[in-house]
C-alpha cells in the first residue's frame, strides 16, 4: 500500500483528502506543520507528499527546499496544494521543483486522478 504524507494544517482539508486517499487505497500520514512535515518526509519514508503552501510555521517553498536538500528525500514526489490559481503560487511551486500542483478547493471527483497523473501511477 502506497503511503502519502499530507502536510496540511487545516483539519477540514486533511480529513477530506485523507478520506479520499484512503478510499483509493492509500495509507495517509499527517503533518500539521512545515517542521513536522520536513521531519516525517525523511523519517517515515512516504511514497509521495501532498504539500499545502500556506502553513502556520514555515511556508511551502521552504518545506520543499528542505525536502529536496536531504539525500534520502531528494527525489520524493511532492505535489503542491494551494488555494489560488492566479496568484503565482502555481508557477513558483513548479519552478521550485514540485512534481505537480492541485488547486484548492480540491475537486473530490478528480483529485485522485490528478494525483495519480502526477505520480505516473
Amino acid at each position: 500500500m502506497k503511503r502519502a504524507l499530507m502536510i496540511e494544517d487545516n483539519p477540514d482539508n486533511s480529513v477530506l483528502i485523507s478520506k479520499l486517499l484512503k478510499r483509493a487505497g492509500y495509507q495517509v500520514l499527517l503533518a500539521e506543520t512545515g517542521e513536522e512535515g520536513c521531519r516525517r518526509a525523511v523519517e517515515d519514508r512516504p511514497d509521495f507528499v501532498l504539500l499545502d503552501i500556506q502553513l502556520p510555521d514555515i511556508d511551502g517553498l521552504e518545506v520543499l527546499s528542505r525536502i529536496r536538500a536531504e539525500t534520502s528525500s531528494r527525489k520524493l514526489p511532492v505535489i503542491a496544494v494551494t488555494s489560488y490559481a492566479m496568484s503565482g503560487d502555481r508557477e513558483r511551486m513548479l519552478a521550485a521543483g514540485c512534481n505537480g500542483y492541485i488547486e484548492k478547493p480540491i475537486d473530490p471527483h478528480r483529485v485522485i486522478a490528478q494525483i495519480r497523473g502526477f505520480l505516473n501511477d
Binding site: D12, N13, L16, M86, I106, P108
Partner: protein
C-alpha cells in the same frame, strides 16, 4: 477678504527700491507676509531657500531679467507650479505674450492700480491653493481605492477557506464516500455542492478584479502555443455546447506561438465561449482566430439572442445582465465580461470588441499582441 485667514507669503521682485517698498507696503497692509528681492539672482535664491505662495516679478532688471527668472523656475521641478505675476512698464501685447510664454500666470502693467494688484494676487493664490487641495485629495482617493481593492482581495481569499470544506465534503458525499445516498439526499447535497461552486466562481472573479484594480495582479508571460490554449478551451466548452445541442467550430488561418500569460488568455477565452453557449438556444458557436505579424484577434460568434446597440456599453459593467429573466436562466457571476475586459486591457495589453444584432447573434472578441511586452508583464 477676512483678515483672519492666512493670506499667504508673496515674494516681490523689483530693482527699483521705491517700487519695491510701495508694493511691499500695499501687500503687507492687505495682510500678506511679504519678502523682497532687488534682482533676479537673489529672487531665485530666496525662492529656493523657502518657497513663497506667489511671486510678483518685475521684468526689466539689470543682469537677469524677469523672463529669465520665470524660465528658470519653469525648469525647476520643485517650483514649476509656483504662480508668477509679471508687473512691468512694458505693456505691448508682444511683451505680455512673452511673459505668458515664459510661464507667468498673469501680467500687470505699470503704473498699476493697487486694487487690481491685490485682486490678481488674491485670485492666483486662491487658484493655486485649490489646485493643491484637489491634487492631494486625488492622491488620497487613489490610495484609498487601492486599499479598498486590496482589502476585497484579501477578504475574498479568506472566504475560500470554508468553501474548501463545503465543496469538498458535499462533493465527496455525492461520490458516496460515506455510503450511498438516496435520490432525495443526492438532490439536496447536489444543491449545496453547486451553490458552493457558484460562490467559488464569484469569489475567484472578485479576487482577480480587485487585484487588477489594486495594481497587484501578477502576469506571467511565457511561450504559449495558441493552438493548445484553444484546444483546452474547446475541451472545456464542448460538453456544455453538446448538452444544448449547439455546434462548436474553430476556424484559424494559422496557429502562432505567442509570448503571453497563457492562463489569463485561456480564462478570457473560456469566458467568451461560455457566455456564447449560455445565451444561445439553437445554432452554434464559432471561434475565429486571425493572426498577423504583431497580434492575434480571437472572436467568438454565436447565433444567440443578440444585444441592442444601446445596451452594448452596459455589457462591461459589473453585475449588469441585460434582462433579469436571462440572469436567472444563464447563471454565472455577472462579473465575467467586466473581468475579461480588465484582463485583456490591463494585463494582456489588448482591446475587446463587440458586434451584435438582436435576434441574430453576437460576436465578442479581443485583440492581443503576440508578444506581451516585458514592461507590461512586470507591473
Amino acid at each position: 477678504m477676512n483678515a483672519d485667514i492666512e493670506q499667504g507669503e508673496v515674494l516681490v521682485v523689483d530693482d527699483n527700491p521705491q517700487n519695491l517698498r510701495l508694493l511691499a507696503n500695499m501687500l503687507t497692509e492687505a495682510g500678506y507676509h511679504v519678502r523682497e528681492a532687488l534682482n533676479g539672482q537673489s529672487a531665485l535664491r530666496a525662492i529656493r531657500k523657502r518657497r513663497p505662495e506667489l511671486v510678483l516679478l518685475d521684468i526689466l532688471m539689470p543682469g537677469m531679467d524677469g523672463y529669465q527668472v520665470c524660465r528658470e523656475l519653469q525648469a525647476d521641478q520643485e517650483n514649476r507650479d509656483l504662480p508668477v505675476i509679471f508687473i512691468s512698464a512694458l505693456d505691448s501685447p508682444k511683451d505680455k505674450i512673452e511673459g505668458f510664454d515664459a510661464g507667468g500666470v498673469d501680467y500687470i502693467s505699470k503704473p498699476f492700480e493697487a486694487p487690481e494688484v491685490l485682486a490678481r494676487v488674491r485670485t492666483h493664490i486662491t487658484l493655486r491653493r485649490h489646485a493643491e487641495n484637489l491634487a492631494s485629495a486625488n492622491e488620497r482617493l487613489k490610495e484609498l481605492d487601492r486599499l479598498k481593492s486590496m482589502f476585497i482581495a484579501s477578504m475574498s481569499h479568506e472566504l475560500r477557506t470554508p468553501l474548501n470544506a463545503i465543496i469538498g465534503f458535499s462533493g465527496a458525499l455525492l461520490d458516496g464516500i460515506s455510503g450511498e445516498l438516496t435520490e432525495e439526499q443526492k438532490d439536496d447535497v447536489g444543491r449545496i455542492f453547486r451553490a458552493g461552486k457558484h460562490l467559488l466562481e464569484l469569489i475567484a472573479d472578485v479576487i482577480d478584479i480587485s487585484k487588477i484594480e489594486a495594481n497587484c495582479a501578477e502576469v506571467f508571460a511565457k511561450s504559449v502555443e495558441l493552438e493548445q490554449v484553444v484546444r483546452e478551451a474547446v475541451e472545456t466548452i464542448q460538453p456544455l455546447a453538446e448538452t444544448k445541442g449547439l455546434s462548436l467550430d474553430v476556424e484559424a488561418d494559422r496557429w502562432p506561438r505567442m509570448e503571453t500569460d497563457g492562463r489569463r488568455l485561456l480564462q478570457c477565452l473560456l469566458n467568451l465561449m461560455s457566455n456564447a453557449v449560455k445565451f444561445t438556444e439553437q445554432g452554434g458557436i464559432r471561434l475565429k482566430v486571425v493572426t498577423d505579424d504583431r497580434q492575434v484577434d480571437l472572436s467568438v460568434t454565436d447565433t444567440g439572442i443578440g444585444i441592442a446597440r444601446t445596451d452594448i456599453p452596459k455589457l462591461f459593467q459589473p453585475f449588469e445582465r441585460l434582462e433579469s429573466r436571462l440572469k436567472l436562466k444563464a447563471g454565472g457571476t455577472g462579473l465575467g465580461l467586466y473581468l475579461t475586459r480588465k484582463t485583456v486591457v490591463e494585463l494582456l495589453a489588448g482591446s475587446v470588441h463587440v458586434e451584435s444584432e438582436p435576434g441574430l447573434g453576437s460576436t465578442f472578441g479581443f485583440v492581443i499582441p503576440l508578444k506581451l511586452n516585458e514592461q507590461v508583464a512586470k507591473r
